[in-house]
Amino acid sequence: MTQQVVNALTLGSVIALFALGYSMVYGILTILNFAHGEVFMIGAFMGYYVQKLFIVDNQLTANPILIIFLSLLVAMVVCGALAVTIEFVAYRPLRQAARLAPLISALAMSVLLRNIMGVITKFRVRPISTDLLLPQRWAVHIGETTIAASRYVIIGVTLISLVALELFMARTKAGKAMRACAQDREAASFMGISVNGIISLTFLVGAVMAGIGGIMTGLYYTQIDFSMGFSLGMKAFTAAVLGGIGNLRGAVLGSFILATAETLGSYYISFTYRDVIAFAILITILLFKPSGLLGKPIPVKV
């Protein structure tokens, strides 16, 4: 049972880092940023490329902690830059366009990036050497349960990231400006907030979290491929909707609930249907409480 709790917490962590980006962008622009999944996937690949530099003949040539730190750093920078570029190219020109336009643009960006990465990686699965980076002997034993190093590293890094994000949103001026823009963009601009700057910042922060999430996902699943952004993205997206899309704490809560449901479901009900659980939650929440658990009520019609 403790093992299941650890599993749920790990999966929830990975999803939460991913889901935050969806929720943040929806909160400020009310668009579904499908390209976020691809940003996440590219973050995971940064982990693959960094570790490849330090692995010779199946041996590490540097301190594993250092390698993970470096992967995180590279992923955060690359994902951040990528997301800001995507916003500039695909969403900013459509700020005044009909509501449908940015949605299609997001879909197009997602298809484009996924297939570019597909061509680069020859559509093959790539391994992440979690065994080398976080060896078995680092596992912690609590009574009957064994907690692998990858598990507590993922949970720990996620916790630190979430606390940092919470502090950023609550304590800094930029965080306050982001919240203001999410509430009312026009009013925020009257208060002298550079709305475009804040939108870029939102994409940046969301992508940095996704970058961290990508590295953690690689460590968790030990293999990555070009389509992981979509398959895991659907779960992250479900988590964001479940918590109330646009609400950051909701996204984290939704992620852990989803992960718990999936872990328990695959353990007690059926392993093959574990993916159905996530989508069933998505449909159910959209049919009965589309504002999610913590979201503010959605205006029904005009």
Binding site: L32, I104, I116, F230, Y273, L286
Partner: protein, 325 residues
């Protein structure tokens, strides 16, 4: 009043399309080409429905492949397991698709925002997973074989030429219905909704009901297309009904332009012919090219000033046809 000349002026496009489409079997002898043309007709049906949804109702479905799957699997299962008449099975599947669309559409179309997009995305994935996992019913990835072809009296529609005529006739009827719909009361009220939901509603247009109607119609078109394909190919497997197909359908609508239902025709032509060409150059580049095309169309089209304005204008001329009266 309706003089012969007036009739021709209003309908020359449709008549030309009908004549060309139905005359194809006389001109084309190649079996592969004929099957692509027949496949184009069913794709056309799905794209017409989706084009109505995007262009007329301003909503997007990211799980339309699932409705095609309902048509295909519904027909196949009813015929192979319950020995139902194929034509009846087709209708039953279509009714089922409409019902499912209703269940998804009623709550989500009442809300402002992209809730239909979210719900259809999830729905599409659930259907796909079920097709793969419900092995007892769908035989999983092995697919269903031995689906009997359509027949009518002594007419056997497994014959390519005959099937071509049948499926294009149906596609033309669907197209005519869609054209009429966009010019009817429903079409006009949807047009009003796009301009201003508030103004239209104050004039008595029931916004969510109109959108729901279009969504259900598009589900029926998709289901019919799925049934026709299943009976002709006589084999179906889940691979054809994943998210990739849903996205390609949206691509078709956007590439063709969704201001007018005619865009569905250009979009279908483009997304059926383009992959055949691209495949010969690079096997994996098909989706890449679609992605680039989509970005170009969506991002460039609205640009009215700056260095890109001229390019944007040219693209606009290429892709956005004026509505034909």
């Amino acid at each position: 009043m309706s003089t012969p000349v007036g009739f021709w002026n209003r309908n020359w496009g449709f008549i030309t399309l009908a004549v060309v489409a139905l005359a194809m079997p006389l001109l084309v002898a190649d079996a592969y080409l004929l099957s692509i043309l027949a496949f184009m007709a069913t794709r056309f049906m799905v794209v017409i429905g989706l084009s109505l949804l995007l262009g007329q109702a301003g909503q997007i479905s990211l799980g339309h492949a699932a409705f095609v799957a309902i048509g295909a699997y519904g027909s196949a299962l009813l015929v192979t397991r319950l020995s139902m008449n194929p034509w009846l099975a087709m209708v039953v599947a279509a009714v089922l698709a409409a019902g499912v669309a209703g269940v998804i559409g009623i709550p989500t179309l009442k809300l402002k925002g992209h809730y239909l997009a979210m719900a259809t995305l999830g729905f599409g994935e659930i259907v796909f997973i079920l097709l793969v996992q419900l092995k007892g019913l769908t035989r999983g990835t092995d697919g269903i074989t031995g689906i009997p072809p359509l027949t009518l009296g002594s007419l056997d529609f497994s014959q390519p030429r005959l099937y071509h005529v049948l499926v294009w006739l149906v596609a033309l009827i669907v197209f005519r219905l869609a054209l009429n719909l966009s010019e009817s009361r429903v079409g006009r009220s949807l047009k009003a909704l796009r301009r201003s939901e508030l103004a239209a509603e104050s004039l008595g247009v029931n916004a969510s009901w109109r959108k729901l109607q279009v969504f259900m119609i598009s589900a029926v078109f998709a289901s019919l297309a799925g049934s026709f394909d299943a009976h002709y190919v006589q084999f179906i497997s889940p691979d054809s009904y994943g998210i990739t197909f849903s996205v390609i359908l949206v691509c078709s609508v956007v590439i063709g332009g969704f201001r007018s239902v005619w865009g569905a025709l250009w979009g279908t032509l483009a997304t059926v012919i383009l992959p055949e060409v691209i495949k010969r150059i690079h096997e994996d580049a098909v989706n890449l090219v679609f992605g680039i095309l989509l970005i170009l169309i969506v991002v460039l089209l609205p640009v009215k000033s700056g260095p890109l304005a001229r390019v944007a204008h040219d693209v606009r001329c290429l892709f956005h046809r004026e509505e034909r009266g």
